[in-house]
Subunit: 317 residues, 2 copies
């Protein structure tokens, strides 16, 4: 049976990925320092066979005890702007030193390594939708750079590892993903707007509400990641949902409507100052994933939102 390490296991993506890998009969090690993740996301996995929680920082030197390791999913990194503004150094380290450390680990065990890159490598893109051959529009000297530049640097380290050591690497450029187990206070638009509604607080839109994102439900991402790991494509590949591009105001309205279905009243929408360098538009071109992974997202924005809303309602009880 295959042995897999998932870093960032207590986070949104990591916890769902661990769960799915367990279903597929992997032996799963989940590593996390619990900085932006939540132990409740994996506590219940701990009681399952074949799941082992490793409470570590991915940037620390590690004398691992693996006798066998087949795959590494390196997902550990602050992921929301609020989280990375708060810890720019930790963000930089998770994606550079952390990636170096996972490259070493992969080398010791001849494991395959998948790196969680981000649509933020495209920055505030000047082409729309974004294909993998677009080199991006990132401000290296700004508040988002700790994240954007370290994701870019992480991709570069993967490139180097493949070239120098023959490491089998996979790079997922993940676009906005949401679902149950998001941290209710991590500041991302979906969790914010849902929690605003549930708590009866105002919604705050940064800027004029016309910026767009394309939203993918977590199960689609997990499926894409597992297919990517199994593929033999080592260059960066977009994973995102091009069918669900919405502007921020529309996201607020849709969430208000779905909350209303559950008897939760609309709250006021306020407009405040836009964030510096906040991307204007973002939508993946997923032709490459369609062709090479035979993958495309299948969950609609509203269906995903309903599940996420139910999760937060349950949590907030």
């Amino acid at each position: 049976r295959s042995v897999v390490l998932v870093t960032g296991a207590a986070g949104l993506v990591g916890s769902h990925l661990c769960e799915e890998l367990l279903k597929r009969n992997y032996i799963v090690y989940g590593l996390d320092n619990l900085s932006t993740g939540q132990i409740r996301n994996i506590n219940w996995l701990n009681s399952l066979r074949d799941f082992y929680f490793v409470n570590r920082d991915v940037t620390d030197k590690w004398e691992d005890g693996f006798t066998r390791l087949d795959e590494i999913y390196h997902m550990a990194s602050p992921a929301s702007p609020k989280a990375y503004f708060k810890d720019p150094i930790g963000t930089y380290r998770a994606n550079t030193i952390g990636t170096e450390s996972m490259i070493e680990l992969a080398g010791r065990h001849s494991a395959r390594l998948l790196f969680a890159s981000s649509s933020e490598v495209y920055g505030d893109p000047l082409t729309h939708p974004q294909t993998e051959i677009y080199w991006g529009n990132v401000n290296p000297y700004g508040p988002r750079a700790c994240y954007d530049e370290s994701k870019r640097m992480g991709e570069t380290l993967c490139f180097i590892a493949q070239q120098l050591y023959g490491t089998e690497i996979r790079i997922a450029r993940i676009f906005n993903t949401f679902g149950p187990r998001m941290h209710p206070e991590d500041g991302r638009v979906i969790s914010n707007f849902i929690m605003n509604g549930i708590k009866g607080d105002d919604i705050f839109i940064y800027g004029d509400g016309m910026k767009t994102r394309s939203f993918m439900y977590i199960s689609d991402l997990v499926d894409g990641l597992i297919r990517l790991m199994a593929s033999n494509n080592s260059s960066p590949i977009n994973l995102g949902n091009p069918y669900e591009e919405h502007n921020v105001l529309k996201v607020a309205k849709i969430i208000q409507e779905l909350l209303a279905e559950r008897g939760i009243a609309r709250t006021r929408i306020n407009y405040i100052q836009a964030l510096q360098d906040d991307p204007t538009k973002r939508k993946p071109d997923i032709s490459k994933a369609e062709e090479l992974l035979d993958w495309r997202p299948t969950v609609s924005f509203e269906d995903g939102l309903r599940k996420t809303i139910d999760y937060f309602i349950e949590l907030y009880k």
Copy 2:
């Protein structure tokens, strides 16, 4: 008297910078691991008062013994494509971990830190000439990325340090610079073409010879760096020579002509395959440096080349 640390002191830029700072009455520590630099560039400084050579790698932990430190010029990094293709990991480390290490050192001594960034942060630029507000066109997953992305990441680390610790930082985006003390085998176009001529070897042009660079003589750069350090501008600033943009074929011809002045015969010009991601055009807009530093380059390409040619002829004797 002010105490200054120059990393990369045995290199082209570092050695000239140390020399000029000594002339200006600084106490100068020159740090280098002698990877791409040459001890002969600073041997003779060693015999001067007030110069101390520190044989170290900038990425190693350092229990420094400074009782006072006012300024740090962080120049240590492989600088030529040939050098960074050969050591991509060392290149990444010098500009990220090395920069972190210099940020810490600056913090301990409340020193000001100048980081040697590069015109390569613009990648293969889509605007011409390049201003500092241009965010660049860099391939994160390619052979030049170890250098380009780590210079970008270095700038980001400076941004973070300023924001988190209040470090006084300066960022020079240096465009192609040449002069005596270049390593004769470091592979850059100027040293290559001059050495080709001196040794009677063919010249090899990568691609069609129509790619351009703007060439700055070393003394102009040193003057700019010292002015930048003394200024109070902490955002990135271009230092380069916009008056001397030439294509590679023209560079070959000019060098052949100047070598002929010294009785050295023309050698054959060959065209071979272009390098991947080799920038097509590069020229700095230096309005910002002109305004904030009252600086502009003064040495012509031909005058600089004559000095450089004489250096290499002397060296090769």
